[in-house]
């Protein structure tokens, strides 16, 4: 890791993790146990999360510099990963991406393409990018910096990332053989309020944990579909002192607090 200037907060008691720092730790947890795969975080807090994971409990993760080089934990080039090779890692299933979501529904269908009717959108966004391929090939998590009913919707306007129970229903012309299993592997959705997952019998989204200080009712209120809420909702863990120190050294300018105030 690069030796950054010490954060002004580094000598303050580490019990005072900010919401952004709790989000970084929650993102890091997404990659726990993944082994030597390509971790592709989109957005500053997921990037900090993946780097935190690699510095601590997931040292085997591969990460790029955002362009074509694989950098090790110390920032040295350890490999070459141009886009063509990223696509091969996608198809090989050896990747876990954390993408954003302009819209996401109860079963994890995600939209980053456009809002409104696709033929003439109210708002054109990025486009599907690699979301369709990612979601049918390898593990996918999502990061939503502002948990709201605008994002957590009944139905997304354009299915980019494929959710559960849809895996093959979008195939036209031929019904897939019964033996063909969907490869959908959605891990977690981390937001500024909570961590959500799909570990329910029907693979509908459930509230896994609320961040410290957040009432589960607030999460329900900001979610535009019926969220599964267990009787006892866990509280998202706060970073340990060493983790907090790492986060602050990885992001000395505090950009994380702009993403989640």
């Amino acid at each position: 890791m690069s030796t950054a200037k010490p954060s002004p907060a580094s000598d303050i008691a580490t019990a005072t993790a900010t919401r952004a720092e709790i989000c970084v730790t929650a993102c890091a947890e997404a990659w726990r146990g993944d082994g030597a795969i390509l971790a592709s975080p989109m957005g500053l807090i997921p990037v900090l999360g993946a780097r935190l994971a690699r510095h601590t409990f997931a040292p085997d993760l591969l990460m790029t510099d955002g362009e074509a080089f694989l950098l090790d934990a110390d920032g040295n080039v350890e490999g070459w990963m141009p886009y063509a090779r990223v696509f091969t890692m996608v198809a090989a299933g050896r990747r876990h991406v954390m993408m954003g979501a302009s819209q996401i529904d109860r079963y994890g269908n995600q939209n980053i393409s456009c809002i409104g009717d696709w033929a003439r959108p109210k708002a054109q966004l990025l486009g599907v990018r690699g979301a369709p391929g990612n979601t049918v090939n390898h593990a996918v998590s999502y990061w939503v910096p502002r948990h709201s009913r605008r994002v957590f919707v009944q139905q997304v306007d354009m299915v980019c990332g494929v959710g559960y129970h849809r895996g093959l229903s979008g195939v036209r012309g031929a019904s897939p053989p019964a033996s063909q299993q969907s490869a959908t592997d959605l891990r977690v959705v981390v937001t500024n309020l909570a961590v959500l997952d799909f570990q329910t019998r029907g693979q509908a989204m459930r509230l896994r944990s609320v961040h410290p200080g957040v009432d589960p009712a607030d999460v329900v209120k900001e979610t535009g579909f019926e969220l599964i809420v267990p009787d006892d909702v866990a509280v998202t863990r706060v970073p340990a002192a060493a983790e907090l120190d790492l986060i602050r050294r990885l992001d000395p300018d505090g950009g994380r607090d702009n993403e989640v105030p």
Binding site: Y83, P132, G133, V136, N137, V162, V171, S179
Partner: protein, 283 residues
């Protein structure tokens, strides 16, 4: 095949209305912008543009010359959304073939290999199938194993054949060999092989290309014309020769937000020739 050393305007004069044109680079990285600017000065129209889209696509939408875009995204990288692409889509002035970025790769590879299609999983279950009703699927004729299943259903990604490809290299020689010196070749070699005719602009035509032979991405069998356009990828990045001109890109994106300011931008930078452009953007 003889490779011609041409001017950008001579290259563009070989293109025709209605052609399908592939443009190399990625987002706002190593785009053949001098060739795009030459297209803006031409009367070309009704074009289908295949690209990992950035300001190349944005400019051809703003000029009204692109009828359809084939892409997975349009971005300026440091500015997430391409403003003219947004305008064109929201105003309904441009058609879109929206594909997963891996499907686009596969379509170019199929065309380069002269195959009608290549199978891929990307697209299955997504609305890419809904918005591209012409896409078909195919069932594997082989037993499963090694990650695939018996009779697996796959998308049959059709070849994306191009009438012409435009790419920008760091170096080339007059024979038509092209060299990239940056971190990523993107898909420029496939764009050239997928095309009937491939046109290469470069920072410098060098009679004796040096550096690792692995950086010689394009060979002269893939190329029909070469042109030297110093700073020709501006304002996109062309490392190690230069990075993206972020300040100018912000000016471009801001100007795109409003028709009057776009008119002024166009008059100030794009209505003249390449020499006038380079003079205007010189710091």
């Amino acid at each position: 095949m003889t490779v011609a050393v041409l001017t950008p305007d001579e290259m563009v004069a070989e293109l025709r209305d209605g052609m399908t044109i592939g443009i190399g680079g990625w987002g706002s990285r190593r785009k053949p912008m001098a060739l795009v600017r030459a297209m803006l000065r031409s009367t070309l129209r009704d074009l289908v543009v295949v690209s990992y889209a950035g300001p190349d696509v944005g400019l051809l939408i703003a000029s009204g010359q692109a009828r359809r875009i084939v892409t997975g995204f349009a971005s300026l990288d440091s500015i997430a959304l391409e403003p003219h692409f947004r305008n064109g889509r929201q105003r309904g002035t441009v058609e879109l073939t929206e594909l997963d970025e891996g499907m686009l790769h596969w379509g170019l590879l199929a065309a380069a290999h002269r195959l009608p299609f290549l199978p891929i999983r990307a697209g299955l279950g997504s609305d890419v199938m809904r918005v591209n009703p012409g896409l078909r699927t195919i069932r594997s004729p082989y037993p499963g194993g090694a990650g695939s299943q018996d009779g697996e259903e796959l998308v049959a990604m059709p070849a994306l054949r191009l009438d012409a490809a435009l790419v920008h290299m760091n170096r080339a020689d007059a024979a038509g060999n092209g060299q990239y010196l940056g971190p990523d070749p993107y898909f420029d070699d496939l764009f050239c092989l997928a095309a009937e005719r491939a046109y290469v602009s470069c920072e410098r035509i060098d009679p004796a290309l040096t550096g690792p032979p692995q950086s010689l991405l394009l060979n002269r069998a893939m190329v029909h014309g070469v042109t030297e356009t110093p700073n020709g990828a501006h304002f996109t990045s062309c490392v190690p020769d230069y990075g993206r001109d972020e300040q100018f890109q912000r000016r471009y994106a801001t100007a795109a937000a409003d028709p009057d300011s776009w008119q002024r931008f166009r008059a100030g930078y794009l209505d003249g020739d390449e020499a006038a452009y380079q003079q205007a953007v010189r710091p």
